[in-house]
Each structure stands twice: as C-alpha cells, then as structure tokens.
Symmetry: C2
C-alpha cells in the first residue's frame, strides 16, 4: 500500500502546484522575501527595513476526522496552533496572532465549544492573540458528522535573524528532535492500514506495545518553539519542520543547492506505531519515510562546535535531540543511509 492507495495523490498534486509557481510568483512585489516553498511566507514590513512579517496556513489533514471520532475536539485546536507555530518558528519568527477557519456539515455546540476552546487555550499558553475566526455550516460539501479546520498564524522576525538555511555548510550536524507520533501527517494512509486493512480497534493495545492504537494516533503535534529558540541563539544554520513529505521532502526546503543531507536512518529510535503501520499496510520503507516523520518532528542543522552550547541552552527538562546526520557536498537532496 502507498499514499496514493489511501486517496492522497501527492505526485499529481505536487506537479500541478509546481506548474503554478510562476503564477504565484507574479503576485510577489519587492516586499516578498525569498521564494515559494518556505515553511512560512516572508513579507518585508512596509516602512521598516529591519523587520518582516511571517505567515503560514495549515490544516491537520485527516487527523481532524480521527480526533473528532474520539471526541477530542479540544486537541484539534491545540494541534493546529502548534503546527502553525512550528512553521514560522523554524524561520526564527515570534508568533503574534492566529485566526481559525472551521467548517463542517453541521457544527453542534458540543463540537464547536471544545474546538474553539482548544484554539483559545493554546493561544493563551503561547501568548498569541486569537483575533479572528470563521465558522460555517456547509451541508453538501462535508460528509455528515465531519468538519475541517484551517489555521492562519502571523509572526514577526528581525530580518537579520531570519534562519532560512542559506548559511548551512558541509560538515554541519543534523540533529533530530523526537516527535510525539504522526503529528499531523499520513493519517489517511495510517487509518487505512490499521483500521481498514488490519482491523485494529482504536482501544486495542497491539502486541508488544504499551498504548492503544487510538492513543498513539491521537498523540499531540509538539510545539518546538523553545527548542528552536535555544538552537537559534546558539547559532543553528537551519530548521526543518518535518511535516507532509517527511525528512525526505522537508530537509531540502532549507538545504543550499550545493549541499546534501546524509541522514542515518537507524540513528534514532523509530516509534513502534510506524512499524505497526508499515506492517499492517505492507508499506515500503521508502514510502514510510516519504509520508511520515518517523519519529523526528524537527530537524536542526548546526555547526558541530555549537551543538554543546545549544543543548546547554535547552535546559535540563527539555527532551534531548539526537544526532541523525551530517551535511555534505551535494545538490540539495536528502540521502537516507543505514548507519555506517
């Protein structure tokens, strides 16, 4: 089974989007910094040569349906805010405000209330203002009992502190920060493999594991704001938020054209849920690394002599990152290798 079999046509889809890049670029005035493809869009603040606005929009993919099926609406809001924060934090930006879009076949108060509370509470925790939102009931577009969410986050960054990977050099270390699970990617494939093919129940504890399938799939999208801040201050040269496309497609978003990332795939413990999905759906290893984060939610690139200082800044309570690879001369690609 691959992603295509679960109804998600990544290749067709990305080809269509690639063809549209020139159209999108035609809207760029001189205020837009960089090109299409950053984790967040960068826009020079008019009348202020030192700062830029950063904006991103995200959804949760079909994780939203999975969480909703378990009644975990509050977590939908939380996951989406975290996802958006990670997308702009990797550029060095501080988040300012968030807006949510919620639409569904019908939006009952007992769905809407925890959902919006999830957005608001997470915004409070992160000192982000929830300054707008739209909710819409759209019968005939959403399947009965389902809804979707989109989040929009705007942040601010000092232009000289933007981290976009351009300072990455051969020899830099690649460190991986553990994810809590799938975060928000690959749920169509995962649920198809686990529930439709293998017939697990969400409340079932698979052999040899210590959590239910439902608990593992409902694990939150982690917010790496603190970790990025520490590594940024210590001189990291790039951060990649590992979302759809996994390490294989997200690391190249920050790699200079003359660098490759060599990632040693047995250098970190891949959480059991991924192996469970691979076996249940007979998914090839390469496809697993292309669809899922495989246990790494954030990759930081940093010269080796700065790693110690960066980890010190994390403080004793933070989860320690793992060295997962090295930057070498190349052509902007990721090479997944077995541990040498």
């Amino acid at each position: 089974m691959d992603y295509n079999d679960s109804g998600v046509h990544t290749a067709t889809h990305q080809a269509a989007l690639a063809a549209l890049r020139d159209t999108i670029r035609s809207s760029f005035g001189e205020e837009v910094i960089g090109d299409v493809g950053h984790f967040g869009g960068l826009y020079a603040l008019p009348g202020d040569p030192t700062r830029a606005l950063v904006a991103t929009t995200d959804g949760l993919g079909t994780k939203v349906k999975f969480l909703a099926s378990l009644g975990l609406h509050e977590r939908v809001g939380r996951d989406l805010v975290h996802h958006c924060i990670d997308d702009i934090a990797v550029l060095g930006a501080k988040p300012l405000f968030f807006l949510d879009y919620v639409a569904g076949a019908a939006l009952a108060p007992d769905t809407l209330e925890p959902l919006i509370r999830g957005f608001a509470d997470t915004c409070v925790e992160q000192s982000i203002a929830l300054i707008g939102g739209e909710t819409a009931e759209m019968p005939g577009i959403y399947e009965e009992g389902t809804y979707d969410v989109a989040g929009f986050l705007v942040g601010l960054v000092e232009r000289e502190k933007i981290v976009d990977g351009s300072a990455i050099r051969p020899g830099d270390a690649i460190l991986g920060f553990p994810s809590a699970g799938l975060h928000t990617n690959g749920y169509s494939l995962a649920t198809r493999a686990l529930f439709d093919t293998e017939c697990f129940r969400p409340d079932e504890i698979p052999a040899g594991m210590d959590a239910t399938v439902g608990e593992m799939l409902a694990a939150p999208h982690l917010c790496y704001r603190t970790e990025i801040g520490a590594f940024h201050a210590a001189g990291a040269t790039g951060f990649a938020h590992i979302t759809g496309g996994g390490l294989i497609e997200n690391l190249p978003r920050i790699l200079p054209g003359e660098c490759d990332a060599v990632v040693e795939k047995r250098s970190w413990p891949v959480p059991g849920i991924f192996d469970l999905i691979a076996r249940a759906g007979d998914v090839e290893e390469k496809e697993m690394y292309r669809v899922f984060n495989m246990g790494i939610g954030l990759a930081a690139v940093i010269p080796p002599d700065r790693v110690g200082g960066a980890i010190e800044r994390l403080g004793p309570e933070a989860a320690a990152p793992v060295r997962i690879g090295t930057v070498v001369e190349g052509s902007g690609a990721v090479r997944l290798v077995d541990r040498r």
Copy 2:
C-alpha cells in the same frame, strides 16, 4: 422555508460562539485593539505606536460548491480575495498579503490550476502578495467531487485612520453600494429554494428576467476597495461589509450603542434574484433580509454634508451609491422600515 431548513443553523451556532467570547478574549494581550466582532481583527504593530495589522479569514459558504458545479473554479479564488479585501478595507486598512487553504475529497489538476490562478490573478490586480497556501486531499471528510476554500488576508492601517464606527452620530446618512447578486451568502437557502423546491435549471431564464439562474447565482463578489477609499478620504464615519446576516446583523457591528440605523427598505432596487428565491422557497421577508444582502454589498455611514464630496471622489466611472437610511438615537439596532 428559512435558513435553518437548508441545514444552516445560524441561531444555535451564534449562541455557541457568543458563549465562547470570553474564552477568545482571554487570549487578547494589550496589542489587540477593540473587541471580538469587527470585520477584521486589529493588532497593534509591536514597537510601532502609529500602525496596526488587520487580519481576516473567510470562506465562500456553499457558493464554492455552486461555482465548482459550473466549472467556475477561477471565480472561487477571485470571490474569496474580494471578500477578504472588503472585510479589512471597511476598517480603513490596505491589504498586504493573502494565503489560501484549499481542501477536498480529491484535487484534480484541472480544478486546482484555475482555482489557484484565480487567487494569484486577483492578488496581482490588487497588488497583494500571495505568500502562502495549503492544499490537502482529505478523503472521507469532503463529499466526493467537492472542495472548500478558506482565505486569509493581512493588511496594515495607520491607527489614527482606523474607521470602526465609533464616530457615527445621529443624523449621519447611510449609503448603500449595489452588490452584484448574493455575493457569498445564503447559497444553501438559495439553491434549496431554486433547484430543490422550484426545480429551476441553472441554464433557465426565469420569466421576466434577462439572465439565467446560474448566471445570477454565479455573479461575483464585488471588491469595494476604491469606493471605501473615496468615502474614507471624504470623512465617512463607518463602513459595513454586508455579508452573512445581511444589513440587519452587519450594520450593528459598527453602530455605537446609542445609535440605531433606520433603513428604508424600498429606497433601492432589490435585484430580481432575491424575489425569485423568496417566491421559490416561500421565504418570509424578514428572513430574506437576515440571510441575504438584498442588493446592498457595502453600507457607508457619513455625515450628510460630506456625501457630495465623497461621491465626487468616486469618479465618473464608479457605481453611484444610494441613500438607504439614516442614523438616529437608539440602542445599536437596525430598524427596517417601509419608505416614509
């Protein structure tokens, strides 16, 4: 028939949202200007006492399904950008950048291409940068063949030029700018009445009219940026973008607590499509004014002695607004009256 019958539960929905206002407010730091309920959210630009960011998020409701059914994907993008511009322009803001979220059961290239082109081309026309977007295929959430869109627009405003209605006084004139049709509201009710109850065909020209039902329903959401700019410069005291909730619910968003808006409902020509919907669905007049814009896409409030100057600034090519009412002493409500 009313809006509820078409599957849109406005009252339940708004009660749930009202209960959440305190939760949302708890995320407001001192940067947030004003309260929940503006057309756009206002956020003081950090480190700049003179300017504020303004942001909005919108969708097209079930108009997106109607336009898609006619293959008018490009217009989806156009309508959504226009809708967002109007939401922040009414506060006096200049739009900077836009992001789109597109999700559907499947997103074929021949849908995605014109859709994104609609966003990009409209952004180019309006000097807005399209700096981000997310597209997602979400089988099992969207009904087959359908998709939804959400737009997100950020603008900038000089704080002393924010128009929020607080300067509205009894005696001010209320002018209405014509809409091109339903804009982006009431499509669930309209299509239920016209196609399900009355069985019109989209390519049918109803008796006494000169356009097909499909053409009238596909009419674009107008962008009032130029008109708002002219009236703003001439000293208008408030602008209301007439979207969901019609004049009845949108004018109060800018009315001071001690003012009512008296709107004379026979003072402008209501386009025939609204009468057609009312007859087809046996919709009461009050419900029509609560769901639809009834021919007014934008209301401007302005002292009577400034009206002449404002219209002069519009230039000869602009559609002239119609005087539709007057601000009187009251309690923040709209009174729809027959022409006196």
